[in-house]
Structure formats: C-alpha cells, structure tokens
C-alpha cells in the first residue's frame, strides 16, 4: 500500500538515506529496525514530507506523493506520530484533539473514538499537554493521529522513554489497531520483541541502507537480533 522506492534523502549536505526501498503491506505492519543514526526516523520524515527526497519515489496506493506538502499527505490518509511524545504544549488535551478534528465532518465521532481508545485522556481534557507525563503525551499523540482516520500510520519509536506500565498499554493498542483492519503501519522500533510480534515484514536499516529484510513474526526475532548485532 506504501512503496518507498530507492529513496535518497538527508539534511543540508549530508545524505542519510542512500537508496532505501521499503514496502508496507495492505492492512499490515512493516517494522524498520536499526541502531541509532541508521536513518530510521529520517525515513519516516521523508515519507511524511518534512525531509524532501532528493531521489526515488514514495507511492501511496500507486499515487506518487514524493513532492506533496505534508498536510496534503495527511489529507490522503497518512498520519504520523513523531519521536519524543510531541504535542502542542500550551493547548489543552481537548484542544490538541479538537485542532485536528476541526473542519472534518466526522470530527466529533473521531474524537470520541480516540478517547475511547485512551480513556485516560478524557480525565485530562482540561489540562495543558505540556503538563502531561510522557506516556500520557504519547497516548495523546497517537489519538491525535487517529482522528484524521488514516489508512497508513507512521510510528516513530512509540514506546521509547515511557514508563513500563504505559508501554504495555501502547503496544496492546497498536496491535489491536492493526488487527482491526483498514490500517497499515510503518513502525520504527528499537524493541525487537514488540516490533517482530507486530510486523508482517521487517527491514533492518544500517547507515542509510537496507541490509536485510524478510517476513515478520516472533519466529524471525532471532534472525533480526543476529542481523542487528553485527
């Protein structure tokens, strides 16, 4: 459903991705694994359009979106949860969600659904996002992404730096979302165990190149760990 074909991208004079090809299956999860600095986050930013691709193409259901502005990609059904539990710190939890729902005919239901998924946000609706804990802010970020009713969700290390009790909850929610159908996920993760449980396809990224790839599932975990430890 998403095809990243020989994409090159980077910042200013440094190239981070040297021709990366990754495919996200329809209604499935593709996991991208690799060490720090391998280019995992840059790959998601390129798919989202914050980092421009200097070569290669990004196809969403066959449509070339390589040159599209980020907000137009959102309109085509791509949603992105960036690294670091980002939010609009001076907006309340409710405003953070309403902001994305504004102008959508199904906005009200979309917000309600997102709140059902993360009930804790309902209690925090009047609190400024900057005052939430990391785990709560990450739940807010995922909820915000889901309100746009994406076909493709880009998740950048959704459980990094979050207290263990919430990690399990977030992992479960992500797994549940992918099982529900209608949603494909491109997941960047450091936790090999969770990534491989979720993934139908995996890709190992090293220094901006895909060095190994294959079918996901818990049984492939050993292979991936071996590939990563090289």
């Amino acid at each position: 459903m998403l095809q990243i074909q020989s994409v090159r991208a980077g910042y200013d004079r440094t190239t981070v991705l040297h021709g990366v090809t990754v495919e996200v299956p329809e209604d499935g999860v593709a996991a991208v694994l690799g060490h720090n600095g391998a280019g995992k986050s840059t790959l998601l930013r390129t798919v989202m359009g914050i980092v421009p691709a200097s070569a290669g193409t990004v196809l969403l259901d066959g449509e070339d979106i390589t040159r599209l502005a980020p907000h137009r990609r959102v309109a085509r059904g791509v949603a992105y949860v960036p690294q670091g539990q980002q939010s609009f710190p001076h907006l309340t939890t409710a405003e953070n969600l309403q902001l994305v729902a504004d102008g959508r005919p199904d906005g009200r239901e979309a917000v309600a659904e997102a709140l059902d998924l993360f009930p804790v946000l309902r209690e925090l609706s009047g609190r400024r996002a900057g005052l939430l804990s990391g785990g709560q802010r990450q739940q807010l970020a995922i909820a915000r992404a889901l309100i746009t009713r994406p076909r493709l969700l880009l998740l950048d290390e959704p459980t990094e730096g979050i207290q263990p009790s919430v990690v399990a909850e977030i992992e479960e929610t992500v797994l549940a979302l992918t099982r529900r159908g209608g949603l494909s996920v491109l997941l960047v993760e450091q936790h090999v165990g969770f990534a491989m449980r979720a993934a139908r396809r995996y890709y190992v990224l090293e220094a901006g190149r895909v060095t190994s790839s294959g079918d996901g599932g818990a049984e492939a975990e050993g292979t991936v760990r071996a590939a990563l430890s090289v």
Binding site: I50, H71, V74, Q86, F88, P89, H90, L99, D102
Partner: protein, 294 residues
Amino acid sequence: MTVVLNQSFTGISIGAVLLLIALGLTLTFGQMGVINMAHGEFIMAGAYTTYVLQQSVSGAGVSLLVALPLAFLVAGAMGALLEWLLIRRLYTRPLDTLLVTWGVSLMLQQLARDVFGAPNVQTTAPDLLTGHITVGGVTLAGNRLFILGLALLCVLALTLILRLTPLGRRIRAVVQNRDLAEVSGIATGRVDRTTFFIGSGLAGVAGVALTLVGPIGPTMGTNYIVDAFLVVVVGGIAQLKGSVITAFALGVLQSVLEYSTTVSVAKVVVLVAIVVFLQWRPQGLYTLRTRSLA
C-alpha cells in the same frame, strides 16, 4: 497631581495605538519569525483609507464607522499580498525579510506621495469625539477615549478568536510547533497568510485611530514602527498579555516623562529603561516555550 493624571491618560491612549500596531507584529514575529518593516505602511494605508472615505462620504461619524472595517480589509489585504508575494519565500532568511520589507516600506511611502501628494492631509473628527469629559479634575478627551475603547475591543476580539475558534487553535498550534502542525494536517501556509491578514488589518485600524489625533502623511507609519517593535521585544513574543501591559506602560512612561522633561530626553530615558529591563529579562515579560520536530 492632576497634570500627571492628565498626562497618564494621554499616555494610555498613545499606548492603545501602540498596542493595536504591536498586536500584528507580535503575531507575525511570533508565528513566522518575520520582522516586517512594512507594517508601518499598513497604518498609513488605514489612515489614507479614512481620508479617502471622508472625501466621498458625507458625515464624519458615518465615514469613521465605515472606515474601521474598510481599513482593516485594505491593510489586511495588503499584508496578505505581501506575505504571498515575498515573505513566504524568505521564511528561512529573517535578515533578508527585514531588508525586503524595508524596501517595500519605502516603495509604499513613495506610492502614497505620488497618489496623495507629499504634504500631510487631515480628516475632521466627528463632533461627538471633539468634546471631552472631566472626571475628578482629569480631562478625558473624546477622541482619546474612543481610541482606548477601540484598542480594548480589538484585544478582546483577538483574544476570543485565538481562544475559542478553529482558526485560533490553528494559529496557536503553528506558533507552538510548526512542523507538528503541518504533519497533523494543518495547511500552515494558509494559517500564516491569515495571521498576516489579521495583523496587518489591525495596523490599518490603528491608522484610522491616528487620524483622530494627528495629520496623515506618507511617513506616519515610520514614527510608530520602532516603538511598536519595542513593545513586542519587551512584552515577549507570540502572546497578547505582555504586549498589552508593555504598550500601556511605555505610553504612560513616555508622556509623563515628556511633560517633566523634553520629548528627546523622554525617549532616551525610555530606551535606557528598556535596555536595563532586557538585561534582566532578555526573553521579555512573558514567553511561550516552543520546540519543533527537528
């Protein structure tokens, strides 16, 4: 004492005009990091709009009331056009924006000279505003009361828009985290243009207010732009509270000092006070802490 109070009231009305001008600057500077030197010419545009309207509409009161929304639209449209033509291409180069908008400012001044002539022109204030009322020995001039009310109304309207409307949410979101707003599906370019429209429009409203207290001329904007930037720097960027407090404080300080010394000495004292204040609080009175994706 009465003298000080009288001067303070004059200062408050000067502060009200400064506030109208600074609101637009703090929005555009806070949201886009743009130092728009042509902002002063939007004041001029608003003032000349009032003048032209008074030439064609009889009745000073009616033309003033029509001039307010019309000046907002004229100046706002000029601002949005400037953003679309030039500024959006220079967002990553703040110093270039400063030079470019300064050039635009000079061109607009020359345009005004060509169209309306170099000498200043004047409008007549409606009768209702030429009088004054006296409260406890303090003389409150009608035109200055009107300006104060106008500024407070604009602050109130802007506050409500920012707090309660979808547009306000989008503006605040872009100020706080532009990249996150863009990847959340917000057309940040359109939000920028709207912000520019509102900010420039408010400068136009300030221009209407200024026709009540002084002459209209091609360089009238430049007299205010520096003070307005001082308000933004001292008040803190991208929020209204600081601008409101600072605008009134500067206005009162300036006009009280002017009375006890001279205009030049008052300016120097105010500038020194600002320099000292910024040593103590370089970020201004209030700030929004922001972070971006990168």
